[in-house]
Symmetry: C2
Subunit: 200 residues, 2 copies
């Protein structure tokens, strides 16, 4: 059974990007601090990043790279330069966007989808029995609200960024209960995992 | 050597109170969810709360209650009904406020202070070799910014509140590095501890 799993590096004060994130400025002013634990900048290759890691952090990265499809927001996709059309291993990438696809989205593995439920369903179908990697703050919020996010894997980075883009912003009121499934520490990061308990 | 230690229960999305917190509504709509792990409401007695805890959560509460002074914000103080003038064991309480003290602040253990550096300094003097318990979002932000917060002990509650009052809001830009010192889990809560690395 495939799970949709959010993988995001977040500061202790809840930011997943510094101020002024965008194409050409990656994950924002000072935002690269959040990616130091895996030793890459926002537009680096994930495969290159995994190669030099070891221990817990390597395990986490290997697991993320074992996913069979990616669901990402338009902003995250654009900030990362679309990963050159290949996030890892050429798996299908579903970009959540209501805009018409532009030229940068014409890579063969990339599909534009306007509804988050459709995106997660299509990604799970594409992933088979592998998990789906979910990426991006807006996408996470939409998937949580729509009830289609199964797990949160937060890489908690021991820093206060002060300002930037939050992982959880503009969520509707109403609690979403989480079940901690694992918490473990690697160099420079704490990995916190939760199962989302969908409302009965 | 006395340390100033922030003890706060926080949701995974960064909230320490639900919406509409205030006197009469404690830590806001649904905010009591954050205090379930120690089984009390916002105006309950901390000593009563500790008595029925066991294991890790009991250890954490005992440690908080071994502090020798309290520094708290005006809002946190008011929301909690001023703890009836006695947070625990009658230790001195320093309330950070720029307002003139009103009648509710006339308990003997309570001192109003307008500057956060003064408040922490006075509290450390009062606490002797014991730590100082720091409480409240605004107070935490001011103490961090002023460089007088030594440690963060966050009780991370596995829930997304969606809306409410954030622990870290309106902080100035500029990173504050943290050193993880301990992470451990109790029933219904994960305790994350950090040492604040002051800028050289």
């Amino acid at each position: 059974m495939s799970n949709s799993v959010l993988y995001m590096s977040m500061s202790v004060d809840g930011f997943i990007a510094g101020p002024n994130d965008g194409p050409g400025n990656g994950i924002g002013d000072g935002g690269d601090r959040l990616h130091e634990w895996f030793g890459m900048d926002a537009e680096g290759s994930h495969l290159d990043a995994a190669a030099h890691l070891s221990g817990v952090n390597r395990d986490v990265m290997d697991e993320a790279l074992a996913t069979g499809a990616v669901v990402t927001g338009r902003r995250t996709f654009a900030n990362a330069g679309g990963w050159g059309g290949d996030h890892h291993d050429g798996v299908p990438i579903f970009v959540l966007t209501r805009r018409q696809p532009d030229a940068t989205l014409q890579w063969p593995a990339v599909t534009c989808v306007s509804d988050v439920k459709d995106a997660v369903r299509m990604a799970k179908e594409a992933a088979g029995d592998r998990d789906v990697l979910v990426h991006g703050a807006v996408t996470a919020q939409l998937a949580l609200t729509a009830g289609v996010l199964d797990e949160l894997h937060i890489h908690l980075v021991p820093v206060l960024l002060g300002q930037g883009r939050r992982l959880f912003e503009d969520m509707p009121p109403g609690h979403i209960e989480l079940e901690p499934t694992r918490a473990f520490s690697g160099p420079g990061v704490q990995h916190l995992r939760y199962r989302v308990r969908q409302a009965g």
